[in-house]
């Protein structure tokens, strides 16, 4: 195994001895015990594993840790908690925007990235930003409402 990899995750530095081509997802889930990012396909097709790397929504299942070195990473745990949720998380709770919830990490992270880029998205822009995130339970209508609500709440 190569040299240690250094990752900045949710504002904390971590040194890990893992192979540099290890997908970030497994380090987050198994080494750092962060549950938010999920394995859905491992193929960059579904979005369940989404995290923010330097503010961009990135599919951690297909993103090697070596590429993540030196770039601040935020996961859903870094946004907020049950007691102090981020406005996007609060909006998902308010709209009850989950059925099984397996996809929801990806939805929250993609929405957060969108709202950082475009604080005032219209409905088409929200749909477009989430176009690559799959949900099988059919929670789409609520997710769209949640993102619109978050945009309102976060509006300056």
């Amino acid at each position: 195994m190569a040299d240690a990899i250094e990752l900045s995750i949710n504002g904390k530095m971590h040194r890990l001895r893992v192979s540099p081509d290890t997908p970030l997802l497994y380090v987050l889930r198994n080494d750092l015990e962060l549950n938010g990012a999920k394995f859905g396909c491992g193929l960059a097709q579904c979005g369940a594993c989404t995290v923010l790397v330097e503010g961009d929504a990135v599919r951690s299942c297909s993103y090697p840790v070596a590429a993540a070195q030196g770039r601040p990473i935020i996961t859903i745990e870094g946004l907020g908690s049950v007691d102090r949720p981020h406005p996007v998380q609060r909006a998902f709770i308010a709209e009850q925007a989950a059925q099984c919830g397996y996809c929801i990490n990806g939805m929250v992270m993609a929405a957060t990235a969108l709202l950082q880029r475009n604080p005032n998205p219209d409905h088409a822009a929200i749909r477009q930003a989430l176009a690559g995130n799959l949900c099988r339970c059919g929670t789409h209508a609520r997710i769209l409402r949640a993102v619109a609500r978050a945009a309102l709440e976060m509006a300056p």
Partner: protein, 736 residues
């Protein structure tokens, strides 16, 4: 993360009631009266709840959370019947060591069977506590009031459930003699309650079986044969053992698996397994293009499930009509591939699983592993939504087989995306042929419905073993015999009997035992295609009769609630008869009473066809649902919205592809589902009927949505499409 598992165990150990018979059990088991819902099979009150001295109540349910919000709803029911705040109620669900056996959580029956059991058990427990308090407070039980577990007498003296918990005797058989509260006295039932699990799920707290972490846990992956029937000719296990991080390689017959210290190592080692194995393959699947004629050519058992009016001579018809509808194999396609954690310790096997039935799974695990059921504990932990029988049970056996080869360390196995698509049991293909004749005034005189399909459930059952890996072992197990799910609920013939009142009808279920593609229960079972066919055909007949399709349906109905649901949806959507079609924009209507004995749902959809591509887009869906007494209105709406969107996805896009050897839909590009830009705007209105029985509603939207889309596309294009899915290709050929 051991949190999930440990917390559950801790709940189970919560010190609860014992001692003192204040009331003797009323009757012996032999003469026991039939009890409501799941109480019948699990008759002891303390199997359902315990009142704890620490001010909490523990509720035990054999039903499990699948993302449908059942635990939230059960908590509302219990809170009302017990008169305690919902926050005091902890729920233990689906654990063979702790909870009642309620079979499977399926078929929209959790409220109908599990909910009613909780209701009666809690009402009776409240009665026991109040009686006990009455004796101590020297008052009559009906003069006492209960508020959040505090029982008060008129003179202001009071006692709490928690203080009485040690004395109140719940270790006794339920009698269902205490009537649950009438609707007007319910405080929580009927009001939208926020789901218990959502805050954790949007903040990344451990919620899923995929999130379980146990000390010393290893990661496993399996390698399935390249086809259903491939035989393993040679296997170079040394090669796999050399791969980085590999702890164990398990081969049993043609079952292959690998266990590694890290998850990505297990995934890489799975590729090594593939390189190390040579297979001989003679599997031949039927030609995908001819699948329906192939299925119809197989031997079938014919069951006439409805035959009426056939003894009178056929009346003179003005016109006769016939149409054939087909539905392809459809995948559950859960977003999270199936997962389980297993551990062997001191001769005991513990499996953490997202199965829909911990008890049936345990039985099949015992068969597959040649173990005593008493040595196996299955604990439900949520997984990704399943919508029926997906890989959840199969992966539990995979994990157990790998854990058995891992020297007592726990092993987590998650399927890869291609495992899930390639091996999950699909929703069965179906062919529905309808014939009808019309008389004066557009009355339907005569109706025949023929449906050909496989069984719609190969879940773990009494006979055989229905876990995938068990068929691949050196000593393979035989699968259970495919069986019919009897009417009135039905399986492949679910909803095949029209709800319409027709003078003559004959409905035949042609049950095909042979299964070229692995199949099992998918949300709504046969109801999806039967309703698609019936409700498409009703529109076709209405058109022939020159009657508005909504009006046409109502003319053939006597069921008041059906008519009310149809009117509600039509009004809600502003339905207008006689809007000219063929413009590329269309509106469609459809209705069904799920299983002919559950929720009523009517829906109007709008579609737009993109002429260039032929792509139909559902822009709006407006539905009315009557699910009897509503427990959690927002939960009901959430389920209905989800059902509509999922059904739109099935109807417009989905079909499992296969070639002569294997399933070829192996990832999301080979099995596209609906995406955000494609989902309709949805509105759902609920017809609450507080005085009626609550009805399961999770599957009510599937059939009507499909038919409404088909009807809207027929309206938009002037052409009827009867083969699902209603893809751009198919539409483009005739409209563009």
């Amino acid at each position: 993360m051991t949190g999930l598992a440990l917390t559950r165990r801790r709940f189970g150990q919560a010190i609860a009631l014992t001692i003192a018979f204040s009331m003797a059990p009323r009757v012996g088991a032999a003469e026991a009266a039939k009890l409501p819902g799941s109480l019948e099979g699990n008759r002891m009150l303390d199997a359902w709840l315990r009142v704890n001295p620490d001010g909490t109540v523990t509720l035990f349910t054999g039903k499990v959370e699948l993302g449908q919000g059942i635990l939230t709803a059960l908590r509302q029911i219990a809170a009302d019947e017990l008169d305690v705040a919902p926050s005091r109620i902890r729920i233990v669900s689906g654990d063979t060591a702790q909870t009642p056996d309620e079979g499977f959580t399926a078929g929209s029956q959790s409220i109908e069977h599990g909910g009613i059991a909780v209701r009666y058990a809690c009402a009776e427990a409240r009665g026991i506590l109040v009686k006990l308090a009455a004796a101590k407070l020297h008052g009559a039980p009906d003069e006492l009031t209960v508020e959040d577990g505090t029982i008060a007498a008129r003179d202001g003296k009071s006692l709490t459930y928690w203080a009485l918990s040690a004395e109140a005797q719940l270790r006794r058989e339920a009698t269902a003699s205490v009537m649950p509260k009438p609707p007007e006295r319910l405080r929580y039932v009927g009001k939208s309650a926020p789901r218990l699990d959502i805050p954790a799920k949007v903040t990344g707290r451990a919620s899923f079986v995929q999130d379980i972490r146990l000390p010393g846990m290893l990661f496993g992956r399996v390698l399935r044969p390249p086809t259903y029937g491939a035989e393993l000719v040679s296997f170079d296990d040394a090669r796999v053992r050399r791969a980085v991080g590999v702890v164990a390689v398990v081969r049993d017959g043609r079952f292959l698996g690998v266990v590694a210290g890290r998850e990505e190592q297990a995934i890489a080692a799975r590729d090594e397994l593939a390189r190390a194995a040579t297979w001989r393959d003679e599997t031949a699947l039927p030609a995908s293009a001819d699948i329906y004629s192939y299925l119809k050519s197989l031997p079938a058992e014919d069951h006439v499930i409805s035959d009426k009016g056939g003894d009178t001579p056929p009346p003179a018809a003005l016109s006769s009509h016939a149409a054939t509808y087909t539905r392809p194999y459809t995948a559950h396609a859960s977003i999270g591939p199936s997962c389980a954690v297993a551990q062997f310790k001191d001769g005991l096997l513990t499996v953490w699983t997202h199965t829909q039935g911990v008890f049936p799974l345990r039985r099949d695990l015992a068969k597959a592993l040649d173990m005593d059921v008493a040595k196996i504990r299955c604990i439900h932990v949520q997984g990704s939504g399943c919508y029926g029988h997906n890989g959840a049970d199969d992966v539990a056996l995979d994990a157990a087989l790998l854990a058995r080869g891992s020297g007592g360390r726990p092993v987590k196995v998650q399927w890869m995306r291609d495992d899930e698509f390639g091996w999950e049991p699909n929703g069965p293909a179906m062919i529905v042929e309808l014939r009808a004749s019309l008389g004066a005034g557009g009355a339907i005189l005569d109706w025949t419905h023929d449906v050909w399909t496989n069984t719609h459930s190969t879940r773990p059952q009494q006979d055989g073993c229905n876990l995938l890996a068990s068929w691949h072992l050196a000593q393979p197990k035989a699968p259970g015999k495919p069986a019919i799910i009897p009417q009135p609920a039905g399986g492949g013939d679910r909803n095949a009997i029209p709800l319409y009142d027709l003078p003559r009808q004959r409905v035949t279920h042609h049950f095909i035992r042979q299964m070229p593609i692995r199949v099992s229960a998918l949300r709504a079972l046969g109801a999806y295609a039967n309703i698609f066919a019936i409700e498409s055909f009703m529109d076709e007949l209405a058109k022939a009769a020159r009657v508005d399709p909504v009006e046409f349906r109502m003319r053939h109905l006597n069921d008041e609630r059906a008519i009310a649901a149809i009117k509600a949806a039509a009004t809600y959507a502003g339905w207008q008869p006689g809007v000219p079609g063929g413009t590329g924009k269309g509106r469609g209507f459809a209705f069904a009473k799920y299983k002919n004995l559950s929720a009523y749902l009517a829906v109007v959809v709008d579609v737009e066809i993109e002429r260039r591509s032929g792509q139909a887009r559902v822009t709006k869906a407006m539905a009315a649902i009557d699910a009897g007494q509503v427990i959690n209105p927002d939960g009901l709406i959430n389920q209905t919205e989800g059902g509509i969107i999922q059904a739109a996805s099935w109807t417009l896009k989905e079909q499992v592809r296969f070639d002569a050897e294997r399933i070829t839909s192996r990832d999301w590009s080979g099995y596209p589902i609906i995406t955000f830009p494609e989902v309709p705007d949805i509105k759902v209105t609920v017809l609450d009927r507080p005085g009626e029985r609550p009805l399961g509603a999770g599957e009510a939207a599937q059939g009507p949505t499909a038919a409404a889309i088909g009807n809207a596309i027929a309206h938009a294009t002037g052409t009827r499409f009867r083969d699902l899915p209603l893809t751009a290709d198919r539409i483009k050929r005739v409209f563009g």
